[in-house]
Each structure stands twice: as C-alpha cells, then as structure tokens.
C-alpha cells in the first residue's frame, strides 16, 4: 500500500498511472473519486485530491463537470513513454553498475538476459 519512500500524493498519482498502463483504468473510463481513493488508501481526502490533480495537470485525467474524473485519450501512451524512460534509469543503469561490481562484463550480462528470457519462455506473458 502506501509507504514512506515518497510523498503520499505522488504515490497515489503513480498508482493511478500504473492502472492506466495496465488497462485497469481504460482511456475515457471513469476514475474513482478522491473520497474513494482516500478511504481505500486510508489517507486524507485532500491528499488524494492532490495526487489526482497532479495527473490532471499532466493531461492524463480530465474532469467532466458534475460527473467526475476520466482518463484522457492518449494517456496510456504518455505513461508508457514515461515508464520506458524510467526503466532505463531505474533498472538498466543499476543493473549495469551492479554487474560491474560483481565482475560481470557486458557480454556476460547480455547472455544472462538471454538465459532469463529462455527460462520465461513457455510461461504466458503477465
């Protein structure tokens, strides 16, 4: 659930982004209300609203007056691009630096990735 790694409103925003990416929240689909987020994550509704508003500012969500908040068209692609960029910094760079510490060269690392891919083969993609 919520942890101490980042400000709470940011975690809420990232969770909604994750749901947009997974298709749990489809484009043009309605997003739970800030009160529902607040109750679910056990946080103050103002904090939940701040997280939601962060995504409105980014153009990922939009408000329909009197109805609620919806996922904007094109939101999934925006999130995907952002996450792919993050993937390089969050996973690839640390992977490379940890490998170097362990004396694993780039070629060996590539071979390990191929091995991991082979082991996953046959199991359905998540």
């Amino acid at each position: 659930m919520i942890d101490d790694s980042k400000p709470i409103f940011q975690q809420i925003a990232e969770r909604i982004e994750g749901d947009i990416l997974d298709g749990v929240l489809p484009e043009e689909g309605q997003v739970p209300s800030t009160n529902e987020f607040a109750a679910f994550y056990r946080i103050n509704p103002a904090t939940a609203a701040k997280g939601v508003n962060l995504l409105v500012e980014k153009g990922l969500l939009y408000k329909r007056r009197g109805i609620g908040m919806f996922v904007a068209p094109g939101a999934r692609e925006t999130v995907l691009a952002k996450r792919q960029d993050q993937f390089y910094r969050q996973y690839v760079q640390p992977l490379h630096s940890e490998a170097r510490k362990l004396g694993i060269g780039v070629e060996e690392l590539t071979a390990l990735i191929h091995r991991s891919a082979a082991e996953h083969e046959g199991t359905p993609a998540p």
């Binding site: 400000p7 009160n35 607040a38 109750a39 103050n44 103002a46």
Partner: protein, 308 residues
C-alpha cells in the same frame, strides 16, 4: 470564515502556564491533528474551546461567537474526552439516546452500525460503568462520529483500543468525513499512526504552539539523503542539517530545507537515495532543536513520549 479563532489565549494554574499566548485560526471542513506530549496543553486547549474550561486571558471565538453558555454554539460542537464521565446507572443505549437529543445532526443508523463494528455488548442491558477501558473509548468514538457535529474534538480517543479497533476508528472517520465534511480536531501522541489522516497539524509544547501548518508543507520542507558519507556530505554542503547518522562509510543526513530543482537528478547520478522524512520524525527533530535553543534542562528527554 474560520471555525475557531483564538488570540493571546492563556491559561495559568497557580504559577504554571498551561497555555501561553495561543493564536489559532481553524478553517472549516478539514481534519486537524493537535499533537504534543502528555501534559503539553492539548486537553486544556480543547476544554476552553468547548467552554468546559476557562482562559485566564485572551480571546476565543467559535463559529464567530463566545461559546460560553451559548447553546446555539455548543449544540454544534462535540467533545469526546479521554475520560468521559457518564451517570452511574446509564446503559450504552441511554448514552446514545442522550446524545441523539443533544446533537441536531445525530445519525442513529450510523451509531447502530458502529456498535456492531466495535462489537460492543448488548447496549440496552450493559451498563457503561461495567465496560472495559477499550469499550468505553469505543462508546466515545461512536458518539463523536454519529454526532456529525460541525466541529468535533477527539481527545486521545483510542485509550485501551487495540490496533484493529483503532484502525476501524480511522477508517470510519475518513469515510464519514468524506461523505459529511466537517471540522475534526484529533488530539494524539501516536503521530505516525494518524499522520496520513491529517490535512493540518498543530503541535503544542509546554503550552506554546510550536508548529501550525499543512502536513504536506511540513513534510515537504525537509528530506533525507543517504549513501556514501563523503558523497552525502558533498551533496548537503551549505544546507541546514537537522540530523546526521553514520554507519561505517555510509551516512544518512536529514536536511531541514525543501529539495531544490535538479536535486533528484543530481542525487541519482551520484548514487544517493532521497527519501521524505516522516511527520513524526520532523516534529521530534524540530521541537528538540527548539528546546536546545532555549537551553531547557529537560531537552535531553523531551518528546520521548512522542517517539513512542
């Protein structure tokens, strides 16, 4: 308009200042945390705001008026005391019935649901006198929530409640607040436990208000950075440091300033980890520092209570 305004509020007990020049503006429809150690002045303050206690000097305005003997104002308030007293022969049902007469917004179905949630014994048969400490607290919590009072005070409402029951209280408080916004003032020394519920925090220490701000503003005003100590020191050079911790070649430093633009990228490229500082940590560090500055002899053990 503010729900509560105090100016220069002071309460003196003989030669001791229980409240010292308290100036507060409480806005409507928010959840406030009134935090501080035992004996800091939380209950004294709430007693005066609800006209159950007197100020030695200063001004109090609740809903724009003086609450003292003012039925119109008092019916809009609910004060759940830590040690609420009930008449000796009262059953749980008697207490709820009395509350339903007093509070104009009383929600009887909600009170009944909460009776079940907290698993209280048969309300018609069971006398309040015979309840356990935790069950007594639960009755207070039920009255506080079901009162739907525009201004509700909970003074350490969790005494004797176990972790499950406390979580139940926090959950019901949040959902009911979302559906029926009102001003909630929650006094507590379990800061980490209530931090996420709060929008605004007031910290009181020996009768003085030492912090009065939005939670996001407080937690956003500091950060912690961890990594190789030489690199960490380079990163925090020239910044106000609240606390330093070291473990061998590693260090974790709490900086008493917001993150600057570009800090995240720089920390990432240096291999440092950034993290927010919890509300409880910040309150302890800040009030400890304030005490050191005043040269208080009690500074060494200050806020032990808060840290628990």
């Amino acid at each position: 308009m503010n729900v509560i305004e105090t100016r220069g509020l002071t309460r003196r007990y003989k030669d001791q200042l229980a409240l010292d020049d308290v100036n507060l503006d409480i806005a409507p429809n928010r959840i406030y945390g009134l935090l501080g150690r035992n004996g800091a002045g939380k209950t004294t303050l709430m007693s005066i705001l609800t006209a159950q206690g007197f100020a030695s000097s200063g001004e109090v305005r609740v809903f724009g008026g003086n609450p003292f003997e003012n039925e119109q104002i008092l019916s809009r308030l609910c004060f759940v005391r830590e040690s609420q007293k009930y008449p000796d022969d009262f059953t749980i049902r008697n207490a709820l019935d009395a509350a339903s007469l007093f509070f104009p917004n009383w929600d009887a179905p909600l009170a009944d649901r909460l009776l079940e949630d907290f698993q209280l014994p048969n309300p018609k048969k069971h006398r309040i006198k015979k309840l356990s400490r935790g069950q007594l607290s639960a009755v207070g919590v039920i009255i506080g929530l079901a009162s739907r009072a525009e201004l509700t005070f909970f003074d350490e409402p969790y005494l004797g409640l176990d972790a499950v029951a406390r979580q139940l209280f926090y959950d019901r408080l949040l959902t009911d607040f979302a559906d029926h916004p009102r001003t909630i003032i929650l006094s507590s020394h379990l800061i980490d436990e209530v931090a996420n519920l709060l929008e605004h925090v007031i910290v009181i220490d020996r009768g003085r208000i030492v912090m009065d701000d939005e939670v996001e503003a407080i937690t956003g005003s500091a950060f912690a950075v961890a990594g190789k100590s030489t690199v960490v020191e380079e990163f925090v050079a020239g910044r106000p440091v609240l606390r330093r911790e070291g473990l061998g070649a590693l260090a974790s430093v709490t900086v008493d300033a917001p993150l600057q633009a570009g800090d995240r990228e720089r920390a990432e490229s240096l291999g440092l980890e950034l993290a927010p500082v919890s509300l409880q940590q910040l309150i302890i560090r800040r009030t400890l520092k304030a005490n050191e500055r005043f040269g208080s002899p009690a500074a060494a053990d200050t806020n032990v209570e808060v840290a628990r």
